[in-house]
Amino acid sequence: MKLQSNRRGNDLYLYLSGELDEHSVAEVRGQADRAIEENAGLSRAVFNLAGVKFMDSTGIGFLIGRYKKLKSFGMDMYLENPDASADKILALSGVYTLMPKL
């Protein structure tokens, strides 16, 4: 699991790649939180999931955790480019109501 982030205008972009499960989530949680803290003044964060090849409910838990952190800084969260299988589990768990898909 890898995470890259960059800032574009007033948006923080976070690019996730690899497999998002119980094992790999631990690797990127701290990294994602650091990126959020360093960009706390921005208006929104966009998680790009194009590189995510596998995701289970641990990934959902990870995204909800980041959503709560962003909210505490007054930032909105969005998701973009999930593949078909990630999209299925994201839709089933209802997280798009918290973090809309762009």
Binding site: E19, E22, H23, F54, D56, S57, F62, A84, L92, S93
Partner: protein, 144 residues
């Protein structure tokens, strides 16, 4: 009919190996990519439960038994961990015993939704056994 058994330690690094192993075993049934992805996700949920809840950080054995027969894959995933006190409660969407641990509470819901059949048997102090099966649809004939 074909059958395989897999036994491995409850380490999270074994999750990738476990779900890919079950998917590889199911390949001769010619599942679609989306069906295969459903199986991998359901297996990953069950194995995560064994590691996070069943053994709760302790090391123990997880066993997977798979059978294939006429377009159907049966998967049984069991641990000898703590077991579930109230299975009905555990099956409810968004229910989690680890609310502070960034748990979505969606594991059992995903297994039930992604697989054709699902059941769970558990006894406190003895362990948990999840039985799931998936019937793969016959591939559409090539529409040339």
């Amino acid at each position: 009919m074909n059958e395989m058994r897999l036994k491995f330690l409850s380490r999270s690094e074994n999750e990738t190996f476990a779900r890919n192993c079950v998917a590889a075993f199911a390949l001769p049934l010619e599942p679609s990519l989306s069906e295969l992805s459903d199986v991998k996700t359901a297996v990953s949920e069950a194995v995560t439960n064994c590691i996070v809840h069943g053994y709760a950080g302790r090391e123990g054995w997880i066993e997977i038994v798979c059978k294939t027969e006429e377009g159907r894959l049966d998967v049984e995933i069991s641990d000898e961990g703590r077991g579930i006190g109230n299975v009905t409660e555990a099956l409810a969407p968004f229910f989690t015993t680890l609310a502070d641990g960034e748990r979505s509470g969606m594991g059992f819901t995903i297994m039930q939704t992604f697989m054709t059949d699902f059941s769970v048997v558990s006894e406190e102090g003895k362990g948990t056994r999840v039985k799931m099966s998936k019937t793969f649809k016959k591939a559409e004939p090539d529409a040339r």
